[in-house]
């Protein structure tokens, strides 16, 4: 390490010495104009020493003692340095190196792209459309404490993150329970969701109502309700109450800022004019002012006494909302039912628990007589369940009567099994009718689970139905024979005759062994049967035609110089006879009764591959590589798509720019510069940062924070 540092210093020194300035002597002549270039400073022309540069380090208090010590050591070392290369050589070396670097860094990427099954241009394209949370979060680590905190909060709530079917809590509960329990729980959850959706729908609907009066009443009611809740909260949950208080404070501030309820608005001004003549307008104005007062009133943390007084005040406020309720109170449940449907919020405001409970009971009576009857039949434990059920139920339940019945059915299922046995023969026709009616009218079957619940109701019908088709089928089966008998002529069909003629029907099958067969064929061929001998002749003719002929190159008259009749010896003649190599054995060599044509069909050849494609070394490899067809006739759709996907995909209308380093470096480093971290806190020894200049540019040395040094290589 030390050595390296030394080298670096020497290099630095050398750099300074590459172009030593010309020595300028002090001018002796006096002149008017003195060039700024010729002003000499003290010590000009001297070599720049390390000590000159680092002298200040000693004085600076920031630098650590260690570094100072190191520097002193360096200064004291007296080793001579090697001569640097001359300029041409250094340039050459650096140029070569840079080129190498440039090329080598592309090499991999080129290879990778060549190998890639599919290239999509433009590169580094982000897929359009919303991403799943996991995709977004993948590759991102929770680092800072803040992030950790957030994550903990987010996932502490156990909301479904991935696949929002069930929350972990729900899952656990499902797991912990038996099937029936789980079913009930599920129904509960479903109910809760349904309720929520109904509530939302209701809120939406109410929001749309344009009547100002309605909203006024509504708001008032809400406020009152809120206050009541607040009082309770003070007792039970002081922290929550404090928060609410803060909210109130905020609203007060807003009011004070906006003066919404003072007589500054358009409406207020018009009312002010009318107030002289119109009583109601005056009242409205007063109300508004009261509102302003209320809102701007400073809130104090309510003590018990105050809270009481507030309650008293509240009680004195006339309750308009209660009036209609009392009017309709008469024991006609039908009327009530209608009204509650029209103004469900009203009943919500009148929080008279006993009354609502009664109301609910009546409601239920209306909704499901069937249900009640069953209840009557049910055992006492079931009733207990019912009571607890009622407590849970909310006011909105009226809207979800359908669901209620379903849910109750679910609950009652268990007990019904028991009661079924007792019921047995007691079932009257009337009851059945009612059941039928109910199941038709009220219960809407929504899912399989629901169906299961309704099984009992559905079953009797289901049993009845199949019986009808059966009879129908019986009729159908009984009918066709008549038809058949009309169509089919009896004489032609082998009915009774079949048995009589059965024996001649059966062929007397004589089995022969393969080999015997072949042998017999050959034998018969030699015996001189026409067909077989013809065939054998044909075959031998074909074989003969396939054999290559011997070429005799002897010229006429050769070797006859001595006269006619003298033949040259055989060995001499043999030299002029050219025998071509025998063809490969015929395909039908071992099949006596088959002639296979040895002719090569050239028609397919023009469509075949005749040259081995590049990476393959022999035909077997290539043939096996294309043995799987790619057509949709032989493959499934996905496979075809996968097999025939294009090598290059371009996006329509997108500009495809030449590849730059960022396209592939992105994944590795984030910035354009290659910042190489040399030292951590432990490696603080490294003191020097040098810019190694490879090409042309000099970039100032930069400090990373707190003694983490960064060496910047710049290859451009």
């Amino acid at each position: 390490m030390q050595n390296e540092n030394l080298v670096q210093i020497s290099f630095f020194n050398q750099l300074m010495l590459v172009h030593p300035r010309k020595k300028q002597n002090e001018r002796s002549e006096a002149s008017v104009q003195v060039s700024e270039y010729f002003v000499n400073a003290e010590g000009t022309g001297d070599k720049v020493n390390l000590s000159d540069l680092l002298g200040t380090v000693e004085k600076t208090s920031g630098a650590s003692n260690k570094t100072k010590k190191q520097l002193r050591n360096l200064q004291s070392s007296k080793e001579t340095l090697e001569l640097p290369l001359n300029k041409q050589q250094t340039e050459k070396v650096s140029a070569e190196f840079s080129v190498q670097l440039l090329v080598s860094c592309w090499k991999n990427i080129i290879l990778q792209n060549q190998k890639a099954e599919q290239m999509v241009f433009p590169l580094n394209q982000e897929s359009s459309g919303p991403k799943r949370v996991e995709q977004v979060v993948a590759g991102w680590k929770v680092q800072t404490p803040l992030e950790q905190e957030i994550f903990r909060l987010l996932h502490g709530s156990r909301q479904p993150v991935n696949d929002p079917v069930l929350t972990p809590v729900e899952e656990q509960s499902l797991k912990a329970m038996s099937l029936e329990e789980a079913k009930i729980r599920r129904a509960e959850l479903q109910k809760a969701r349904a309720l929520q959706s109904y509530y939302e729908a209701k809120a939406k609907r109410e929001k749309k109502i344009k009547s100002k009066k309605y909203h006024k009443v509504q708001n008032k009611a809400k406020r009152k309700d809120f206050l009541k809740q607040f009082d309770e909260m003070v007792k039970t949950n002081p922290e929550g109450a404090l928060e609410e208080l803060k909210k109130m404070e905020l609203s007060r501030m807003e009011e004070r800022m906006s003066l919404k309820h003072q007589n500054s608005g358009k409406w207020a001004k018009s009312k002010a004019i009318m107030a002289k003549y119109d009583d109601s307008a005056r009242k409205a104005m007063q109300e508004q002012l009261q509102m302003n007062k209320d809102l701007t009133q400073k809130m104090v943390v309510p003590s018990d006494d105050e809270h009481e007084s507030i309650e008293e005040g509240l009680e004195t406020v006339p309750d308009f909302v209660n009036d209609p309720e009392t009017v309709i109170d008469p024991v006609n449940p039908w009327m009530r039912g209608q009204l509650t449907h029209e103004e469900p919020e009203v009943s919500c405001v009148t929080a008279e628990e006993v009354q609502t409970a009664e109301e609910e009971n009546e409601e239920e009576e209306i909704i499901g007589e069937f249900e009640r009857k069953r209840k009557l039949r049910q055992v006492v434990e079931e009733d207990v369940v019912e009571v607890s059920d009622k407590e849970e139920e909310e006011d909105e339940e009226e809207d979800v009567s359908e669901f209620n019945t379903l849910f109750r059915l679910m609950r009652s299922e268990k007990t019904r099994e028991g009661s079924n046995q007792t019921r047995g023969g007691l079932n009257t026709a009337g009851e059945e009718d009612e059941e039928g009616l109910l199941s038709e009218g009220q219960i809407r079957v929504r899912s399989i689970e629901d169906l299961e619940v309704l099984d009992e109701v559905v079953e009797p019908r289901a049993i009845e139905e199949p019986s009808a088709p059966q009879t129908a089928a019986a009729e159908a089966t009984s009918e066709p024979p008549h038809k058949k008998k009309r169509e089919i002529n009896l004489k032609e069909v082998l009915t009774k005759e079949a048995k009589a003629v059965r024996l001649p029907f059966l062929p007397t099958v004589v089995d022969e062994e393969e080999r015997d067969e072949q042998i017999s064929i050959i034998k018969e061929a030699f015996a001189g049967d026409d067909v077989i001998s013809d065939f054998i002749k044909d075959k031998s003719r074909q074989e003969a035609a396939g054999r290559p002929a011997v070429v005799d190159l002897t010229l006429p008259g050769w070797g006859e110089w001595g006269g006619v009749g003298l033949k040259p010896p055989r060995w001499k003649r043999k030299r002029f006879r050219i025998k071509t190599a025998p063809p490969p054995p015929r395909q039908d060599q071992k099949l006596p009764d088959v002639i296979i044509s040895e002719k090569r069909t050239a028609s397919v050849a023009s469509h075949q591959v005749s040259q081995l494609p590049f990476p393959f070394q022999n035909t077997a490899q290539f043939e096996s590589s294309i043995r799987t067809p790619i057509g949709s006739t032989w493959n499934t759709q996905t496979v075809v798509k996968n097999m025939t996907k294009p090598k290059v995909v371009t996006k329509l209308g997108a500009i495809i720019e030449p590849m730059v380093k960022e396209d592939f470096i992105k994944s590795k480093t984030t910035s354009k510069l290659w910042l190489l971290e040399i030292g951590h806190k432990k490696k603080k020894k490294k003191l020097f940062m040098f810019l190694v200049l490879w090409g042309c540019m000099l970039v100032p040395v930069r400090f990373a924070y707190n003694s983490v040094f960064v060496l910047i290589f710049f290859y451009y």
């Binding site: 929770v142 058949k484 059966l506 062929p507 067909v531 050849a605 990476p615 496979v639």
Partner: protein, 546 residues
């Protein structure tokens, strides 16, 4: 409870953020992780060829290429095996009571026993006037074309019994055949070949095709192959209306014809007992086999192109393996079979006189024992054809037409993209366009349908030779051993020679080792064979041993 504890501990451990994240996204555990397993049997069903092994010293690129192709074919195979579960239908069957032969069960009984729709598939058409009938079912199995010897031609939607057209061509009708759709059919009349549309309007009279006796339509090539009384085998491309090939077989009258659906080769039966195989690309027969001592009466080739069934005047019924051109077994039918037909599921029907017999398990090594079904008719049987995708056998005879129920004959699962019996008009049009686009050229017809996917060895060798001549060396040859130059006197001529010899010896040893191994294997095989002979049990695959 367990899950809960796990959860909280991980949450509290703020340092292990990585684990933390993992936990967050692994809330739900899949009880059946990974893909569903595929049974080995199904995988085997969709295997295509053998896997290619990567040679030892292969280049990187070669390794990659092989790996990619292997992965792709494996994926394709797996997917196909997975989708196999979408073919849920089973074939029908007929089972008699104890001590009851199924061939004694009459058609009327079967029609009574089955449901109405199936029962209605047994019917007779009394057409005694216009002589024995030839018939053809369309490829989807919906339409039936019947042609009487004395000129009566009718096409019927046989399931609804809806008569599409009926006419008398006032000429002898030798054969009838549907073309690629139900919209057109060809009729081989006394002199020329005629093409009609489904309403009976004459579209073409092809005078190039004269005295046609038998016809076959090759659906994927759009070729109508005709065999004439003058001994000509002609091919008509019905998509462009051109004669593709006319081959003079020099074998006399050609009245026995069948096609091999596997490779579109035409089989012809001849009076001299031979069966010849033809493609439009060769003027001489691809294969000629001697099958019978008398004339060949009828031929049938099964759907997979593995088996051929022939019957001759010598009253024998023979089953051949036409991949190896070897007879599997033969049996003697006293009456002889005049017509043969193979169903999609391999039921063989043979017309022996006035009786139609249906045989089960004929295609295989076990010999024919007794018929699966039998049915007696009135007149001489002239045509037999199984209806595709239905358990129905159509019989054309002297007294008209009979549709017979043969349980287990038809393929229960159809490929709706290829032949959909329930296709609509629009679907038919779409199919026609696609089929035309995918039309296979007649040049590709040959004994081996996979020829196209093979390297043209002859021209490859020729080219290779030329390359060697041009370059002066063999580029594909194994590099000759070049001894390295070593220092310190170890690279003397003698030492180099020694080293060369060492390598040469090693090579030789390799060769010897290989040959020895081969020899031992051969011996082993021979031994096994002899053992088998001794034992006398033969397997189905033995016939491939040449």
């Amino acid at each position: 409870m367990l899950v809960f504890g796990f959860w909280t501990t991980k949450i509290c451990n703020t340092r292990s953020t990585q684990q933390n994240r993992n936990v967050l996204f692994c809330l739900k555990k899949d009880p059946f992780p990974g893909e569903a397993p595929i049974p080995q049997k199904q995988l085997q069903k969709f295997q295509r060829g053998k896997k290619c092994k990567v040679p030892a010293g292969a280049r990187e690129r070669l390794k990659e290429a092989i790996a990619i192709s292997e992965a792709m074919s494996e994926h394709a195979q797996k997917q196909a095996a997975r989708y196999d579960l979408l073919l849920p239908e089973d074939a029908g069957f007929l089972e008699g009571d104890e001590d009851e032969d199924t061939n004694t069960i009459s058609q009327a009984d079967i029609a009574d026993a089955v449901d109405i729709t199936s029962g209605s598939k047994y019917f007779n058409l009394h057409l005694s006037q216009f002589g024995p009938y030839r018939l053809d079912y369309s490829r989807t199995g919906r339409n039936l074309l019947v042609g009487g010897k004395k000129g009566h031609v009718a096409c019927i939607d046989w399931q609804t019994k809806d008569l599409k057209c009926e006419m008398n061509v006032m000429e002898t009708v030798n054969d009838v055949k549907w073309l690629h759709t139900e919209a057109m059919f060809a009729v081989a009349q006394k002199r020329w070949l005629y093409i009609y549309d489904s309403k009976g309007v004459e579209l073409h009279c092809v005078k190039k095709f004269n005295d046609v006796l038998r016809m076959q339509f090759l659906p994927y090539h759009f070729l109508l192959a005709t065999a004439s009384a003058t001994g000509f085998l002609q091919y008509l491309d019905v998509s462009i209306g051109k004669e593709v090939a006319a081959i003079c077989t020099k074998m006399g009258r050609l009245d026995v014809m069948a096609q091999n659906p596997h490779n579109a080769v035409i089989h012809l039966g001849h009076p001299n007992g031979t069966v010849s195989l033809w493609s439009p690309n060769q003027k001489e027969s691809l294969v000629k086999m001697l099958c019978h001592r008398g004339a060949v009466r009828s031929l049938a080739v099964d759907k997979t192109g593995t088996y051929m069934v022939t019957s001759g005047l010598d009253r024998k019924l023979k089953v051949y393996d036409i991949r190896a051109f070897k007879p599997l077994h033969s049996c003697f039918l006293p009456a002889g079979a005049s017509c043969l037909s193979l169903s999609q599921r391999g039921l063989l029907s043979a017309a022996t006189g006035e009786i139609v017999q249906v045989y089960q398990n004929v295609l295989g090594s076990n010999p024919v024992s007794k018929p699966y079904m039998a049915h007696r008719l009135r007149g001489q049987i002239w045509g037999l054809a199984y209806c595709p995708f239905e358990d129905v056998l159509g019989i054309g005879h002297g007294e008209g037409f009979t549709s017979m129920i043969v349980p287990g004959a038809g393929e229960p699962n159809f490929d709706a993209l290829d032949t959909n019996p329930y296709r609509s008009h629009k679907q038919r049009q779409e199919w026609e366009v696609k089929a035309l686009l995918e039309k296979v050229q007649p040049e590709l017809i040959g004994l081996d349908p996979g020829q196209l996917s093979k390297v043209d060895q002859a021209s490859f060798e020729q080219r290779h030779k030329e390359q060697i001549e041009a370059l002066g060396f063999d580029p594909l040859a194994k590099d000759k051993f070049k001894p390295k130059t070593k220092k310190k006197g170890r690279s003397s001529a003698g030492a180099i020679e020694k080293r060369k010899r060492k390598v040469a010896h090693e090579d030789q040893r390799d060769e010897i080792r290989q040959s020895v191994q081969e020899r031992t294997e051969r011996e082993k095989e021979l031994k096994e064979k002899s053992n088998e002979k001794k034992l006398g049990n033969k397997s189905t695959l033995d016939r491939f041993r040449k």
